[in-house]
Symmetry: C2
Subunit: 316 residues, 2 copies
């Protein structure tokens, strides 16, 4: 009975849980979402951060998908209304019973309880697809690696970890391309921060440590002010440039060169960290940037630190 | 971002779905919940009514339950907070992704989408256990058959349909008894309508057609006025009596004798139906009361008709 229910919800007998800071990390398959997420979640600690992947809201399992005319990238293939609902519940500090898709068997299996802690990091293919889901996030990030790089990453991962052949992965990339263009990539324009990893000119087959990053900081949210330490005249391997994005909107582009020495990235890291308004003396997290055991990327470290800054700042 | 989210939810861009009428049918295992539910759902039609069982919110599957110190009747054994959440969502007209427990295997499996239609009939062991879940219902019903009858029904069903032996069912009834007393039976006091099926004196092993019913109508909601057609002086097999319930509260008790002839029950059915304020000429549903193919119970028919009256009246 909604009247009774509304009265009860307004009354003290149903205490409102505290609301977490919500960040979305959207991007295509193998764009680096999990690597970015893991670094931030580890820096915050398991008792403060809940990380979840929202690619399990499939309407159909693998067998059923053979008779539908779209891939999992298509919103039609997913319970987008339930995803919206669950994001709203998490944003309000409430638990969800999240569906689970088993990549090994291609089946939908027993759901899991997810309880939001202080920070909720939501990664997935489509978390920024609808207006209502976007409204659930304090910070929206899109991962936008150069397409060649992403294909390399997907080939490497799906062959090594998911048991596919190189030809199978290439065919799947082909099959998904139209829906990737229609549903995944438009989310880039909806993000407050867009991170593009790309090879440095002259390195045709780079490994992760040699990739440069262009981190677009849109004025849709308040970013740390870096203009006093970095300018586009700067000769260092890290610099900041005011540009127009492909849609004409003004945006700050933070370039981090793939060969940036630790000293250069330190300057930016300290500049970001010292602008944490509530804790100027907080120790700078030092384990960021790892993309594989023992392998560090300065561009990744800076992207992660920026996100940490936003999460902690939103917590105030 | 709750601010952004709240603004969006208040704005027109997120249309509020229409809210269904919600009825709870609570009761112990094999109390007759499904039989009662099916009759009402059929009378309303599949396009108007959504019927669901909420006994799937288990925290543990059958194997895991071997190492926990309670049965499925215990709220500790269930995600009661998620059940509350899902009932609220349904009451607001929103879909849920409902967990599913497979009775055959004892496993938690792929959840199903449940979309509320005009009427939502929720049956289960514990839908009236918490204050918040109770607030979600327009009408709360508790099924309270005489314990001997319920045990007979459970033995018959679990042996025939769930593959248990008579001894296994008896042992399970024994094991569940303390939690039944602690968590299931207290819901009777929370119900607007409580239905007790019991044998007519002198019939020791009755089948369903010979059971009488006592239907308690609590003044917590507005019931159809039957006092002008029935009194406790009445010599007919259906009569109404003002009594005190076991807790001292005044309540109307509608008695329907197991051998009530169709003519007697017709009087009550017509009296109920003619009080439908918005549709005095609506045809009286005539397929109510069936508890097994070809087997009809007048007490069951009257209980179902009463519920139909409440559902339709709440819809106005």
């Amino acid at each position: 009975m909604p009247d009774k229910l509304m009265r009860l919800r307004r009354s003290e007998s149903v205490p409102e849980p505290s609301r977490p800071v919500m960040v979305a990390i959207a991007g295509d398959s193998a764009a680096g979402k999990t690597t970015l997420t893991r670094g931030i979640a580890d820096a915050l600690g398991a008792d403060r951060a809940t990380a979840l992947c929202v690619d399990d809201y499939h309407r159909y399992d693998r067998v059923e998908r053979r008779s539908v005319p779209f891939t999992v990238l298509n919103p039609e293939c997913n319970y987008m209304d339930v995803l919206e609902q669950h994001l709203q519940l998490l944003a309000l500090g409430r638990p969800i019973l999240k569906p689970v898709y088993d990549h090994a068997t291609g089946q939908l299996v027993r759901p899991v309880l997810v309880e939001p802690r202080e920070f909720v990091i939501v990664e997935g293919l489509l978390p920024l697809h609808t207006k209502l889901s976007r409204a659930c996030f304090d910070i929206a990030v899109y991962l936008d690696p150069a397409e060649d790089i992403r294909r390399e990453w997907k080939l490497k991962r799906d062959c090594a970890e998911r048991g596919y052949t190189r030809d199978q992965v290439l065919a799947e990339l082909e099959r998904r391309e139209p829906e990737s263009a229609a549903f995944i990539r438009p989310q880039r324009q909806q993000a407050d921060i867009s991170v593009r990893f790309a090879p440095v000119a002259g390195h045709s087959v780079p490994d992760g440590a040699q990739l440069s990053a262009e981190i677009l900081l849109r004025p849709t949210i308040q970013h740390p002010d870096l203009s006093h330490v970095l300018t586009d005249d700067d000769r260092r391997t890290v610099h900041l440039k005011l540009i127009r994005d492909s849609d004409g909107r003004p945006v700050d582009a933070l370039h981090v060169h793939g060969h940036a020495p630790r000293e250069d990235s330190r300057i930016v890291e300290k500049a970001i960290w010292e602008q944490l308004s509530f804790a100027p003396d907080a120790a700078l997290p030092d384990k960021l940037g790892e993309f594989a055991p023992g392998n560090r990327s300065e561009p990744l470290a800076i992207a992660q630190l920026l996100l940490l800054w936003h999460l902690l700042e939103a917590r105030r």
